[in-house]
Symmetry: C2
Subunit: 492 residues, 2 copies
């Protein structure tokens, strides 16, 4: 065993040792700890943002908003767990006359799955990184957490980890509930460790699929919640200058390095697209996150520009400095539907950076089938239409196609700028995510919970949420003996 | 394309074509259809049970109970969906002053995942077969269903399928919502078809893992809900004749061919085990389900009896008739803990049939660690203890270890005879199941649902459950703008 193997073994052992003490903390205490982490991160805001600006090239305003969002996520998960409704407590009281035979007393709740390994993303150094959404969800669920830092912001990752560790410790959480590791090989080694019980990931389709395959092929497979790739098509029934300007803003925000960036805008053939050039040229140059992403974007842009039948609306500029960092302004091209179908390989892949494709369609009625064929799995799909078109039912088939292939369907607005709320869904059919679960919003907590039932248990040996005296005062859904079923009233 | 390939293609196409029409049916109409299926199966009871007796060798009483349970499952799922609470509707009203930036109107509900392929089990020709629990859950969720018939009861499968198909059609459900296929190769081919969106399975660890690996390695992976293997350890602090007789009854019911059969009973060293012999010899010979299971059981029994250090309490008998069917009476052996640890390979594997191992332990305090080491994933674990032991806290560590490694923890009673209720959990850490979800009870429906959010949608284009006028009258969890969070009251 090398020193490094031994370090990974220690990390796994510490996470495993923390699993039961952490699972036994009350939601109220865990919630208070999450709020303490949020407070500590906000208190360290200026220091953290300065590091993040240097390591990622993202703007101060963007990073301030992201840190606010990150702290809010932690508070929102605290709020989600504190009343215990997330435990989905079900109590079936014993019923000697149950129709299929005497029913014992059975009580079920959701319990934490155990240690979680979360692979941080590059493009949200706060909100999808060390203390980001996956981390907040796992800790809220009561799972010890190991974060594999993204190599794009190592100093920020370490400093954030120190702050998180300190805040959790000061809030009385057990040792080992939070740990940071670095290096892709270490991440893979830990993902294979039997003590890790679930994985989470935000990043590329290539890496995410590799990790998902590792998780699925372990002797004991584990769930792997990866958020991989999405091109977020937008369908517009019209295209005026205001719509096209909103499109360029969404494409170029954070230099297009967002998983919800609209990669395709469908507009009617004959639309005046002239304003795109001016809108795009007004966007300031933006550094890409790191040299690797810069190289990837440069290549993707060249492939798109070289594809047969592509017309440039805004060529944009790409340059690389002496340190290898890439700087870009938006590139927007347009094609007709036939060109898109002919050049699928070059055009359909996600372009991570400020590039998008405007597709001119001749026949709105063909859009539902076209969408289903081209875009089987996305985080989002968007419709822009006039009020009368939204009201007259003509878009029903398109909306139906979008709902079958996307986690979130938008009407107006743009998919970038994902809010963090109870109803948010950030996850869709593969390759958007490797499971149908969401990685943003409070529903994300269910990924790290599993059901356990207790049958005929004495009150003394039941977990608090399942007891008759309900010391945590959680919602309990009770099935009384002899209860008649509602179907009886309509089906017979 | 062979005729057979073409048939599988037709099945997939019919399921895919049914997906949207079926998803659009109301829970009330789908519930009525499930009740109609239940009624039709019960009406055909005598005919179906006669076929089942001939094909499986199970007793008439057992099959009558199983058919009653199967009909009840269908009715219970009808009851589960009719009020729409299973849709988990969340409505976040727009909030221009939301702390992380203006919040749009976001509304989320669970929608069916699409066509489901369910591999039927051999040992429950009704309850885990064509119209069994997985089928009821998928249909209740609104997913078109293809059942791969088990080869152990082909005639029963076909007749049941005719009844189900007719009842669904008469209830107005779309064509293609239910189909039957036969043959393992066809099952594998369909599992690989991109139009199938989820798999379900009840059977052996070997086959289940093979299918789970196929589902995970598709170009577009899909969730696979397999219930594979479980040995259901029972820990007793005492062993009297009544307890041992209950044990033998649980081991030998349905000839031990139950996934919840207790494979191991742990009793204090020095317990009088003499009554096991008499209890076991009072059990009548029972045919095993089919020749393959008979051969497997015969071999497992020989391996166990041949293991070094095994003492026979009841040898039992095994014979095979001219048709290749195997008949058996219960075999019960006993070992001490050291013998068990020394003979893990021979003893720890599941014995599918009437065989169990009584393990004599010298030290109750060592049981939690021993359990965790030997039994990392089971459907159930059971504790038998005296009332004062249940009350004095001495079992807390053992219960903790059982809850971490099992889906259901029982206190007294026996794990066989799983009730079907809202709080039931039939699923545990691998290899008990390939996911932590349950395959019995109403929580099983969540396996076949995925979240979809609608942002800024006009009322006309929202699914009924998300509309303000709430035409289906489903529970809607609304987040109002400006709502303060409960954590504010305890954390600051």
């Amino acid at each position: 065993m090398t020193d490094n193997d031994s370090r990974i073994d220690e990390v796994a052992a510490a996470a495993a040792a923390a699993a039961r003490p952490f699972a036994r903390t009350t939601p109220r205490d865990r919630g208070a700890a999450l709020v303490a982490v949020a407070d500590a991160l906000e208190a360290a805001g200026p220091e953290l943002i300065a590091i993040a600006m240097r390591e990622t090239g993202l703007s101060e305003a963007r990073l301030q908003g992201e840190l606010r969002r990150t702290a809010w996520q932690l508070r929102l998960f605290a709020d989600t767990i504190v009343d215990g409704s997330y435990l989905d407590v079900r109590i079936d009281l014993a019923d000697p006359d149950y129709v299929i035979g005497p029913r014992p007393d059975v009580r079920r709740m959701l319990e934490p799955v155990g240690p979680v390994l979360n692979f941080a993303a590059s493009n949200f150094p706060f909100a999808f990184s060390v203390a980001g959404g996956d981390s907040a969800a796992a800790l809220a669920a009561g799972c010890p957490l190991v974060v594999k830092a993204h190599s794009g912001h190592p100093e920020l990752s370490r400093r954030t980890a120190e702050i998180v560790t300190g805040a959790l410790r000061d809030a009385g959480m057990p040792d080992g509930v939070f740990q940071l590791i670095e290096g892709q090989q270490n991440g893979v080694a830990l993902l294979k460790d039997e003590r890790i019980r679930a994985g989470a990931f935000t990043g590329s389709t290539h890496v995410g699929r590799m990790l998902a395959d590792i998780a699925a092929s372990r002797p004991v497979p584990i769930p792997f919640y990866g958020e991989l790739g999405s091109v977020n098509p937008v369908y517009a029934t019209y295209a005026d200058a205001a719509l096209l300007d909103g499109f360029v803003t969404s494409v170029s925000g954070s230099a297009g390095q967002l998983c919800t960036k609209p990669g395709f805008l469908f507009v009617p053939e004959g639309s005046d697209l002239g304003s795109v050039t001016a809108s795009a040229s007004a966007v300031a140059e933006h550094r890409l996150l790191n040299p690797g992403i810069g190289r990837g974007f440069t290549q993707r842009r060249e492939d798109v520009l070289a594809a047969d039948g592509v017309t440039v609306l805004a060529e944009g500029e790409v340059r690389t400095d002496d340190a290898g960092q890439t700087y870009a302004t938006p590139t927007v091209v347009t094609v007709d539907v036939d060109t898109l179908l002919r050049n699928r390989e070059a055009l359909l892949e996600e372009s991570f950076g400020p590039l998008s494709v405007v597709v001119r369609y001749p026949d709105a009625a063909a859009l539902p089938a076209l969408h289903t064929e081209l875009f089987p799995g996305n985080l989002t799909s968007t419709v822009h239409a006039r009020p009368e078109e939204l009201a007259d039912g003509s878009l029903a088939d398109l909306v139906d196609a979008l709902a079958q292939t996307s986690g979130r369907v938008l009407f107006g607005g743009w998919p970038t700028g994902v809010s963090v709320t109870p109803a948010m869904q950030h996850g869709g059919p593969y390759p958007a995510t490797t499971s149908d679960a969401t990685s943003v919003g409070t529903a994300a907590i269910t990924r790290f919970l599993r059901g356990v039932a207790y049958q005929g248990a004495p009150q003394e040996l039941l977990p608090e949420p399942l007891r008759d005296d309900n010391p945590w005062n959680v919602p309990q859904r009770r099935s009384e003996p002899g209860l008649s079923m509602s179907w009886g009233s309509f089906a017979r």
